[in-house]
Amino acid sequence: MAAKRALIMHSKDNVATTVEELQPGDQVKTAGGGEARSLSAVEAIPFGFKIALEEIPQGAIIVKYGETIGKAARPIPKGALVHVHNLEGTRARGDLDLEGREKR
């Protein structure tokens, strides 16, 4: 089966945007952001969602467009869906105190 496509916006990115529906085990070939990379999806990822290009440890910065779009709320395996269940925002967090802890 032909590899499916995902777009990398910037060479520093650790996620790519899928432009086809991915099923677990699908091979993915990236375009943009330097050399094409091959990886396999470890779970279903819908059109327009993000796939992790590498293993991302909990607390690590998630990068798209070469910029911070959030940090990993839990360890994210390579080839996994990156979305609100495992990425948290870092800006305008009224729910966190100055140390980044949840307010009581």
């Binding site: 777009l7 916006m9 945007t17 432009v19 819908p46 059109f47 327009g48 969602f49 993000k50 798209k64 467009y65 910029e67 911070t68 779009i69 959030g70 990156v82 979305h83 609100v84 990425l87 948290e88 925002g89 870092t90 800006r91 305008a92 967090r93 009224g94 729910d95 966190l96 307010k103």
Partner: protein, 395 residues
Amino acid sequence: MSFLGYIRPDGSVGTRNYVLVIPQGLISKSICDFVAGTRSIQTVDHGSGRTANDRERIARILIGLGRNPNVASVILHAASPGVGYPELRVERLADEIAASGKRVEVLDPVKDGGVYASIAKGMQLARRMVQEASKFRRVEVGDENLCLGVKCGYSDTTSGIAGNPAIGYLFDKVVKAGGTAFLGETTEIIGAEHFLAKRAANPQVGKAILDAVAHREALAKSTGLDIRTINPIPANIQGGLSSLEEKSLGAVHKAGTSTVQGVLQYGERPKGKGLYFVDCWMGSYSIFAGYAAAGSNLVMFQLGGGGLAGRELMEGCPAIVAPFMWCTANPRTYEMARDNIDYYSGTVITDGEDPQEAGERLYRTVIDIASGTLSKSETLTHTDPIDLCLEEPRF
């Protein structure tokens, strides 16, 4: 690089040719229902119980819409609940609009002999003014007369990849030609403000961009909530956007690469030409009213729509004087809403279309609509009310 427009007495150029009847209310509605070629604005706020700053914002919108080059002449009425406040006195609105050299007529039920008398007088005036306006002829003018405003909404990941970059290409081209372009939505540059700030015309403008964001982010934090429970909105999250920062980084692509000349208040007219950032809330129709009041003669909504499933799509369009275009880069949104979408750039994602060619197609579409071709939403008579972007509590 030109379009066909109406040259107004102050030298500004319109893409449409309306008689505007404001503020909203029975008098305006009655006149607009019966006289072709008229427009009003359906706001839900008259200014009653509003602070001076917010009343001034309302006045800026009314005066700005009256001065908009798409308006040939204006009828104002004095039957609005807010009219007693100094900012909203009908004489003040009339004087500031008339300073642009346009014909301005005022209806006052107290002097006319009641509301019904004002309606009758207004209908007669409006019919004459519409016919008078029809004598304006379109002439060929340069692209420096374009004044565009854009908002991206129901954003998804196609917005940042192809939709907003096409707008950015258009903005660069129009600004290079000496025209004007507005983007806004302060919340939605949080996380991407440094991109705009480093392109500021001078350090004061750069600071104004960062200050606007800091102010809005502090307000957001004061809610005690994670912004993600508010914005990105559910449709953004269902479309694949995971954080406000990701949404913002996609959103700033619509700014293109030009120098940011200034930060404007809602409805404020720029002093010069070029690219401007408008410090305001994201509300779709309110932002377009602000752009039109600042002089926009064409506005665009760059739609993602991945999280919409068709149900909330295309609920209508704002009754503002600037022609309103829908654009999208999402193939599914386009399929669902072909009858409403004026411009599609999803081909960049699905067919590998050169982004520059996609931008050129957008430019040609804008020139066409600016020259008189109706946008798809302009073929509807239905319009939606507009919630103005006011900032302070009401009492």
